[in-house]
Amino acid sequence: MRKLTLTRPALLSTCASALLGLALLQSQAFAQAPAAGQTPGKEAPAAESPAAPKAETNAEGHTPQGANGAPATQKAEEDTTPPPVAWSFTGLFGHFDTAQLQRGFKIYKEVCSNCHAMKYVAFRNLADPGGPEFSESQVKALAASYQIHDGPNDTGEMFDRPGRPSDYFPWAFPNAAAARAALGGLPPDMSVLAKARSWERGFPQFIFDAFTQSEEAEGPTYIHAILNGYTHPDDPNWNLYMPGHKIAMAKPLSDGQVEYTDGSPQTVAQYSQDVAAFLMWVAEPKLEERKATGFRVVIILAVFAGLLFFIKRRIWARVGGDVVVGAP
C-alpha cells in the first residue's frame, strides 16, 4: 500500500524543469566553444587539449620522422574512437564561426575539390546567412572563375561559359567512371558527408547523446579524426580511425599546404578542424536557423503548457480535483 501525495502533473513539471535546467547547463558548457573559435589563434591548443594522449599521436602524424614514433602509435592503435573536438555549432545556441567556414572553404577549394564533388551546393549558398557569408560580389567573382559546361545552344553545340552564382559547384571529373579511372576509387560527394559519417556509440552513451546533442558533432568529429589519423608515415593509405585502417585517400593535408590570410596557424590540426566545420555547414546549412527557431518554439510551448496546467487545475477544482494516480 503506497500513499502518493505528489500529483502527476507536479511530478511532470518537476521533471520538465529539471530537463530544461540540464539543457541550459549543457548550453553554457558549449557556449564557451564559439568564444574560443572566434579568435583563431587560440584554436589550435584547444584542438589538441581534449584528448592528451591523442594529441601526441597527431603531432607525430604530421612530423613523419620520429625515432620514438612506433611505441606512441602502438599505444594509440588501441583506441580508435575519434577524439572530441570543441565545435562552435553544437549545443543549444550553437552557431558557425564565419571565419572558420571561410578558411574551410579555402581548403575545400584548393585541396578537396580536386577529387570530391559537392553537387548540392551552389555558389550562391556561400553568401547565405548562417554560412561562410561571403559578399555578393565575392561570390560573383568566385563563380566567374569556374568554367561551367552548358548547352546545347541554338546550333546544338555544347559549350563552356564562366560560372554564375546560381550554378552548382562543378566536379573535377566529367563522370564517376573517369574519377574511378584516375583515382582508383570513387571519392564520396561532400554535400552531406558530415551527416553520413558516425561510429557506434554503444550503451549507455547513446542515451546521454539524446540530451547532450553530441550526435550532431559525430560526422565532423569523425572527419577531423580521419584527417589526423595518418599515423603510419611509411604507409599513406593507413588510417587510425578508418574502419579496417585502410583508406583509399592518401594523406591529403600537410602543414603549410594552404595559405591562411587571417593569421590562423597553418597546421593540419587547424586545417582539419576548419574543413570539417565547413563540411558540417555544407551538410546542414540551416543549422543556425533551426536552433534559433527551436529555442523560441520550446519556450513558447513550455509557457503554454504551464498556462494550460493552471487552467486545468482550476477547471478540475470544481469537481474536487483530478485524480492523477488512479486506483491502487
Binding site: 500529483t7 511532470l12 527557431t293 485524480v323 491502487p328
Partner: protein, 426 residues
C-alpha cells in the same frame, strides 16, 4: 456516436443544419457531452496525442510530396532540395521524419496502457482489434516512408524486409518480384512505395474513425477497470478532458520539439545520408527503432521461414489478447501477479529492441532467443494461466468510490486534493 443526442441547437443556422444533417449533434455527443470515467490518468491522453500526430503527419507529408520526386535517380537529390531550397523545407522534413518516431512512441505507450489496464476485455474487443489494424497500417506506412529518401538504409532496409516474403513456400520468389515490380529494389519499387505511403495514412484515418466509434459505444476503460455505474462516476468530455488532453499534448510537443530542433538526426542512421547503391551493402542493416523488437525475433529463429512466421505471429498474437487473457479483472492494479508479469513483458520488449540494434553474433544471439521465447511464453502461457490461478484484490464498489477513497480496497493512493478537500464531493 452512441445513443440519441441531447444537443439543442442554439442558432437558427445550427437548427437548419441539424434538421438536415445532424453532424453538430454528433460532435456534441462525441466530444463535448460524452461521459468519460472521472478517474482517467494521463496514460489516457495518448489517444488524443495520436490523433494529433496523424493530422500532423498528413499535413507535413502532403506538403513534402509537393516537392519530392519519387524516381530512383532523383529521389535523394529532391530530399536535399527540400532541405536546402524549399522555404522551411528542413523544418517540414524534420517534423515529418521525427513525427513518425513520435507517433510510434505514443502508440507504444497507448498499447501498453491498454495491456496494463485490460482495455481489450469485454466489451472492448472490437476496439482493440481495430487498434491492431491501425498499428499494422502504421508499420507499413512507416516502413515505406523510410524508403522514400532513397539512402543506403532505405534501399537495403527495403531489400531485407521485402525479401522476407521470399520465404513463403512455392510462391515466395514470385511474390517478392511482384512486390518489387522487377528483380531488385529499384525505381518501380520506389514508385509504388510512394504511392502506398500516400494512401495508407488515409486508410489509417478511416480505421481511426471506426476506432473512435467503437470506443464511444462502451466508453473508455479506466484505471479501476470497472464500468461507470452512475453519473457520479463520469464527467463530460468538455471541458474536463479537452483541457487535460490539451495539457498533455503540449507537454508531448515540447518533447517532440527537442528532437526536431536539437537532435533531428538522432533517431536516423548516418548511412541514410548516402545515396542508395545496390552494389554496396552497409556493414549493418538496421531498421528504424520501432521495428527492432520484431527484427530481433526474426533473427532469433535460425530458419528463414520460421523467423518470418515468428515475427508476424508476435504481432498477430497481440490481436488475440482478449481471448488469451482469462482473467475477468481488467486493471492490473487489482492483479498483483499479472502486474509483475506485465513489467517483465515491457522489459522483455525493450531488451528485444536493444538486441535488434546489435549485430547478430555471440551472446546477442542467445540473449535474443531467450527473450523471444519469453515473449511467446508471456502471451501463450503466463497470461492464460495467471487468470486461472491468481487471486485478485477486492475491487472498489464504484469509480466514485475509487476516486474519493470511500471504498475499502482503495483507501490509499488518492489524490492529495481529494483528501485535503473532502467536502467538495461525496
Amino acid at each position: 456516436m452512441s445513443g440519441p443526442s441531447t444537443y439543442v441547437p442554439k442558432s437558427a443556422a445550427a437548427r437548419w443544419l441539424e434538421t438536415r444533417l445532424p453532424i453538430l449533434g454528433l460532435v456534441h455527443s462525441s466530444f463535448i457531452a460524452f461521459p468519460n470515467p472521472r478517474n482517467l490518468n494521463y496514460f489516457w491522453t495518448f489517444g488524443g496525442i495520436l490523433a494529433f500526430m496523424l493530422v500532423a503527419q498528413i499535413a507535413t507529408g502532403v506538403t513534402l510530396a509537393m516537392h519530392y520526386t519519387p524516381e530512383s535517380t532523383l529521389a535523394f537529390s529532391s530530399v536535399e532540395h527540400i532541405m536546402r531550397d524549399v522555404n522551411y523545407g528542413w523544418l517540414l522534413r524534420y517534423v515529418h521524419a521525427n513525427g513518425a518516431s513520435m507517433f510510434f512512441i505514443a502508440v507504444y505507450i497507448h498499447i501498453f496502457r491498454g495491456i496494463y489496464y485490460g482495455s481489450y476485455k469485454a466489451p472492448r474487443e472490437v476496439l482493440w482489434l481495430l487498434g491492431i489494424v491501425i498499428y499494422l497500417l502504421m508499420m507499413a506506412t512507416g516502413f515505406m516512408g523510410y524508403v522514400l529518401p532513397w539512402g543506403q538504409m532505405s534501399g537495403w532496409g527495403a531489400t531485407v524486409i521485402t525479401s522476407l516474403f521470399s520465404a513463403i513456400p512455392f510462391v515466395g520468389n514470385a511474390v517478392t518480384q511482384w512486390l518489387w515490380g522487377g528483380f531488385a529494389v529499384d525505381n518501380a519499387t520506389l514508385n509504388r512505395f510512394f504511392s502506398l505511403h500516400y494512401l495508407l495514412p488515409f486508410m489509417i484515418a478511416g480505421v481511426v474513425v471506426l476506432h473512435i466509434w467503437a470506443l464511444h459505444v462502451p466508453g473508455s476503460n479506466n484505471p479501476a477497470g470497472i464500468e461507470p455505474k452512475s453519473s457520479k462516476d463520469t464527467l463530460p468530455f468538455h471541458p474536463y478532458f479537452t483541457v487535460k488532453d490539451g495539457f498533455s499534448l503540449v507537454c508531448f510537443l515540447v518533447f517532440y520539439a527537442w528532437f526536431v530542433f536539437f537532435i533531428p538526426n538522432y533517431l536516423n542512421h548516418a548511412d541514410n545520408y548516402i545515396e542508395f547503391n545496390p552494389l554496396v551493402t552497409p556493414a549493418h542493416i538496421v531498421p528504424e527503432w520501432y521495428y527492432l523488437p520484431f527484427y530481433a525475433i526474426l533473427r532469433s529463429i535460425p530458419d528463414k521461414l520460421g523467423g518470418v512466421i515468428a515475427m508476424f505471429s508476435a504481432i498477430v498474437l497481440l490481436a488475440f489478447l482478449p481471448w488469451l487473457d482469462t482473467s475477468r479483472i481488467k486493471s492490473a492494479n487489482y492483479r498483483p501477479l499479472y502486474r509483475i508479469a506485465f513489467w517483465f513483458f515491457v522489459l522483455d520488449a525493450i531488451l528485444l529492441g536493444f538486441i535488434g540494434s546489435q549485430p547478430p553474433e555471440g551472446g546477442y544471439v542467445i540473449a535474443g532467443q531467450l527473450l523471444t521465447a519469453y515473449y511467446f511464453i508471456h502471451l501463450l502461457v503466463i497470461v492464460p494461466l495467471l487468470g486461472l490461478f491468481e487471486t485478485p484484490r477486492p475491487l472498489p464498489a464504484s469509480i466514485a468510490d475509487a476516486v474519493l477513497g470511500h471504498g475499502h480496497g482503495s483507501a490509499a493512493a488518492m489524490s492529495a486534493r481529494a483528501t485535503s478537500a473532502p467536502n467538495t464531493r461525496g
